[in-house]
């Protein structure tokens, strides 16, 4: 690796709590994800009605990104931030919902609005639209978070000038169980972008 890279900011969302750069920004008493995510949306005064059409995985990824990336109001403003996300359950939360809409022939109702979310990379599309990121994006699935892989992949995108920064991490959602860690990697910063530091952030 030619040049050092750095973690510039990071966000975790789990167990009804949001932390940005290690500081708790929002928490809520025990609640369903639908209530929690709506409270987050309101607390941070997010104004983006499309949010309510998203599936849970996209909502989770969207909220974490919202707290890390600057708003891009101006569509002409270009921002070459790549998205490299991963998780364990792919889109299975929505897959199981979609499957149940076609299993019982008595209540057979396949909906395109549900079907489109039966792909994990749709959350990358949602974020790309929101932040006007016409940039590199890819979604990986691992049994568990893989810091070494994520680090190498982010670094090669930066080294080969495929991106100027990379938003990467873990976005896992299945049946009310969720955890996300997203972190922004670039050429400048203070926290070294190493396997060790990514592991610490994930813990």
């Amino acid at each position: 690796m030619a040049n050092k890279t750095y973690i510039q900011s990071f966000c975790t969302i789990e167990e009804n709590q949001i932390k940005v750069n290690g500081k708790i920004l929002f928490e809520k008493e025990q609640s369903l994800f639908s209530d929690f995510s709506k409270s987050v949306y309101q607390h941070f005064n997010i104004d983006y009605p499309k949010f309510f059409k998203m599936d849970n995985l996209s909502k989770l990824a969207f909220l974490a990104t919202e707290l890390l990336l600057e708003k891009t109001e101006n569509e002409e403003q270009e921002n070459n931030t790549a998205l490299v996300f991963s998780n364990k359950s792919s889109s299975l939360d929505t897959d199981t919902k979609y499957q149940s809409s076609i299993t019982d022939k008595g209540s057979y109702y396949p909906s395109p609005a549900v079907f489109v979310y039966t792909l994990p990379n749709i959350c990358l599309g949602e974020i790309s639209i929101r932040h006007q990121l016409k940039s590199e994006n890819s979604f990986f699935v691992f049994a568990q978070f893989n810091p070494l892989f994520m680090m190498n992949y982010a670094n090669i995108l930066l080294e080969k000038n495929k991106a100027t920064s990379v938003l990467c991490g873990w976005v896992e959602y299945f049946d009310e169980e969720y955890k996300t860690l997203l972190y922004l990697v670039g050429a400048e910063g203070e926290l070294e972008h190493s396997e060790e530091s990514i592991k610490k952030l994930y813990k």
Binding site: T96, Q99, P110, V116, L119, E136, F139, V141, F149, N155
Partner: protein, 379 residues
Amino acid sequence: MTKEVFITQTNCITPIGFDVATNMKNIDGGVSGIQLHQNTGLMKESFYASQIDDENLNTAFAKVTAATGFSRLEKMMILALDPIIKKANLVLDDRTAFVLSTTKGNITALQNSAIEDNTNAYLHQFAQNIADYFKFKTEPIVISNACVSGVLAISVAKRLIESGMYDDVFIVAGDEISEFVLSGFNSFQAMSNLPCKPYSKNRTGVTLGEAAAAVLVSSNKEGVKVKIIGDGSINDANHISGPSRTGEGLFRSIKSALIEANIEAAAIDYISAHGTATPFNDEMEAIAFNRLQLEKAPVNSLKGYYGHTLGASGLLETVIGIQSVLENKLLATMGFDELGVSQDINVIKENGTKNSRYFLKTASGFGGCNTAVLFEKIN
């Protein structure tokens, strides 16, 4: 200096052949895998699809191994990988990665049992089942990026070798026809009522298909088929279920690949495009190619032979594309009649010959994703 990366082995399992040579022979003879199917277990009405015959699959699998307990798709993918792993004869150590590309994997496992009782619907478990069969030492890397997955896998493999993480990467890509996918595309009214007609005036949508394909991507030049010289995978940032009207993401993906390869668009000899035969996709591709002045480059879609094989399509079409380039062939776009996109593109209508040096593979998919990979034939 960045490492050079090559494709040295290829294979595919499709309704028109269980190896590359048989697939080439059938394409040459105008044989398509698409047929009319009556199967109420999959769909109430009859439908066109390119499906692998179960009996052929099981017979071929039994010849390779007596192992049992594999799903239909796992069998397809093991059959795709098996000969190239044997031919490569590498020690599968911590310098050898295993990349699996799919959109829905073992989604059919959800039909019969709750996910708590059957973990095979998890993509990492699906990949692990195949990894264990071949005894890979490294954890499988699963790519699930909608319909660009298969070609994105090549780009990812190249980048992992460039990063110094691995020397060799085996890729397998596969998806199968299921009630899940058929009902979904049908709910989008994206299915063609006839075998698909890429880029044609009267195209009405996709025909679905199933296949598995496999390649070896390596830093070792021995037995090289093509060199991978550039890639890009850029989002439209426009819509989650439809392509950009301006082809922005595809345009930028190709640009990114060209800049990396340090060649001009005019140098591209042949494009293996996505060509799903939906009105919007084909139109978008024509616009993107024209923005790059690629309208004269011979272009084909192989969907008329295979249908849209989702996460397999990008890799399958790369495997066939590579073979056609090595044999100095241009393969016809089956199903194409009269150009039905608003801007001129040079759709290959009949099988022909051409000595192509630079070959571009592209794909686009749900979520606004696009991928372009450039290959060079080196003698």
